[in-house]
């Protein structure tokens, strides 16, 4: 556990020091929230759900923030590879699993903090949290999204040697995951042939879970959300650990 902590601690120190990264990765979700939220609030009606669009959008943007930060944190071990620091960690008498878990928890923590900042800012633009338990539910889902997608990032990074493929991953993997998750629109409003795709997207269950916590309603049963996103987290952690083990010096 002390090794996991050491690696987590390093991640935290780096995070706190990278002011530009903190601001950079909070600004995009914030712009999404403000422009889409205020821009579409009066235009959009939510069939079968009701309520205003901004409040519907907030959980989506919170999960967006967690998603992007966590994938990016996971992929960051490519920098460690390139700057040689990974060698220092790999040659130490510690198991790969400990290193991977430390990295995952570190990434997940930063991602949850980023998402939390959006959550706090949302309180000023219309979010009312009626019950504190719901807030904790949302936080729980954020943590699960954070862990699973950091592990996902580590899995990808384990197979990559430099950052050249990063943009490709962002455009063809991460962005579709976000777009199809029902973060921006109710999944029920999609054409019927697209609905199954959204249900394959693991983030859908994270978004719906957060939405349930913050607004009290969701389109997917929150229990199913917990089961699916937890299962996905376990799966990604195993996959990440497996691929990380195979990294060569």
């Amino acid at each position: 556990m002390d090794i996991v902590y050491a690696i987590w601690l390093r991640n935290m120190k780096r995070y706190v020091r990278s002011k530009s990264r903190i601001i950079g990765s909070i600004s995009m979700p914030l712009f999404f929230l403000l422009f889409l939220g205020f821009g579409l609030n009066s235009v959009v009606t939510l069939p079968g759900i009701g309520g205003n669009y901004i409040v519907f959008l907030i959980p989506g943007i919170v999960s967006m923030s967690v998603l992007f930060t966590s994938v990016f944190s996971g992929i960051q071990i490519i920098w460690d590879k390139q700057f040689g620091f990974l060698k220092e960690t790999l040659v130490a008498p510690v198991s790969r699993l400990e290193i991977m878990l430390g990295q995952t928890l570190g990434g997940a923590t930063t991602a949850v903090i980023q998402g939390f900042m959006i959550l706090i800012l949302s309180l000023f633009i219309g979010l009312h949290v009626s019950n504190p338990a719901g807030f904790l539910v949302a936080l729980g889902f954020m943590i699960l999204i954070g862990i699973s997608f950091t592990a996902f990032g580590i899995a990808i990074a384990s197979r990559m040697d430099d950052m050249t493929g990063f943009q490709l991953i962002m455009n063809f993997v991460v962005f579709p995951i976000f777009g199809l998750s029902g973060a921006l629109f109710p999944i029920s409003s999609l054409p019927s042939w697209m609905a199954p795709i959204t249900l394959v997207d693991p983030l859908t269950y994270g978004v719906e879970g957060i939405r349930y916590g913050l607004t009290g309603t969701s389109q997917v049963n929150p229990l199913i959300c917990v089961v699916v996103i937890s299962g996905f987290t376990v799966l990604m952690t195993i996959l990440g650990a497996f691929l990380f083990r195979k990294i060569r010096f």
């Binding site: 002390d2 090794i3 902590y5 050491a6 601690l9 390093r10 120190k13 780096r14 020091r17 990278s18 700057f83 040689g84 620091f85 060698k87 220092e88 960690t89 790999l90 040659v91 130490a92 008498p93 510690v94 010096f249």
Partner: protein
């Protein structure tokens, strides 16, 4: 003397390429041992195997009495390593880099603190301990890496090209650190280098490696004495004629390298006029003539028939050909 490192027929193949070819070697505890050779000779591969980063194809080795294949963690605990390429976290301070390392090697908190202070003092970075590594010069980074490698009190410290890319002044400075370290800490230091001077100045013993094989192994002084005295280099438009003229009994060895002739002989100073007279008598032109005491460079030339620079050029061509083959 106890043995710190025992290497027995260690071999590494990468497909067709034999990077390390049946190396056998014993290194005593407390020795500064140099693996000397051109780039691509197999030095780093050897170190990678000894530090458990790479599995040998065949052969075996023990570090501090521990088998490198059977007990990886045991070996990892007893070695410190400074890689050829930098491996610090540039966003962290010197202290934090040390602290992270201490935690990874499970050095208890109070001991960790005490050793970090002591080691940062030793490499004279104590007053920069809270500065981010990004702001450090190349020499400072190397010193920090060496200090870090010592934090868990390893029995053996590997330094892979410790002064590569540093300016001569910093290099000299670093040699002093390494020498002091070996003396104060009494640990075994194994360093790879392709700087002949470095091996000569620092190492108790040197193994000269070429094409994955050890071609000479001894104390630098013995190696230099072994090639038959001083070195006279004669440059001439007709080097073959120079070789032909050099048949006196006091000449130990004559060899031609391109347009130069290298002559080994004892007490060169006393024979210079004789050499010049000989060449004049045969009407061979001399472009230049130089005498020097033998260096490890001459030892390398003696054993391989090539200068270390030629070898590196060769290696580069080989690599290029190899890459072309792979691509097609």
């Amino acid at each position: 003397m106890t043995i710190a490192l025992h290497i027995d027929n260690l071999t590494k193949r990468f497909n067709e390429l034999v990077a390390v070819d049946k190396i056998s070697l014993d290194i005593d505890h407390g020795e500064i041992f140099g693996l000397l050779g051109p780039n691509g000779a197999g030095k780093t591969t050897t170190i990678s195997m000894l530090s458990t980063m790479l599995k040998p194809t065949s052969g075996s080795a023990t570090v501090n009495g521990i088998d490198i294949e059977r007990n990886e963690d045991g070996v990892r605990k007893s070695i410190g390593i400074v890689f050829q390429d930098q491996s610090l976290d540039e966003e962290l301070t010197a202290w934090e880099n040390m602290d992270f390392h201490g935690r990874l090697y499970r050095v208890p908190a109070d001991l960790r603190k005490q050793r970090i202070t002591e080691l940062l003092n030793l490499v004279e970075l104590e007053n920069r301990k809270d500065d981010i590594v990004k702001t450090f010069s190349g020499g400072m980074r190397r010193r920090l890496e060496i200090a870090r490698g010592l934090l868990h009190h390893p029995a053996v410290l590997f330094l892979d090209e410790p002064t590569l890319g540093l300016d001569p002044q910093t290099r000299n400075h670093l040699w002093q650190y390494i020498a002091t370290l070996a003396k104060e800490k009494g640990i075994t230091i194994i360093l790879t280098t392709h700087y002949m001077e470095e091996a000569d100045q620092l190492c108790n013993r040197v193994a000269i490696i070429d094409h994955g094989k050890i071609i000479a192994l001894d104390a630098p002084k013995n190696l230099k004495d072994g090639i038959g005295g001083d070195v006279v280099t004669i440059k001439s438009p007709d080097p073959a004629a120079v070789v032909a003229a050099m048949s006196e009994p006091w000449i130990t060895r004559v060899e031609q390298h391109n347009d130069e002739v290298v002559i080994n002989l004892k007490n060169a100073e006393q024979h210079i006029s004789a050499i010049v007279t000989l060449l004049n008598a045969k009407q061979v032109d001399i472009e230049s003539l130089a005498i020097h005491k033998p260096t490890l460079e001459d030892v390398f030339l003696f054993f391989t028939g090539k200068t270390i620079r030629d070898e590196e050029a060769d290696h580069k061509t080989n690599m290029r050909m190899y890459q072309r083959m792979v691509r097609h």
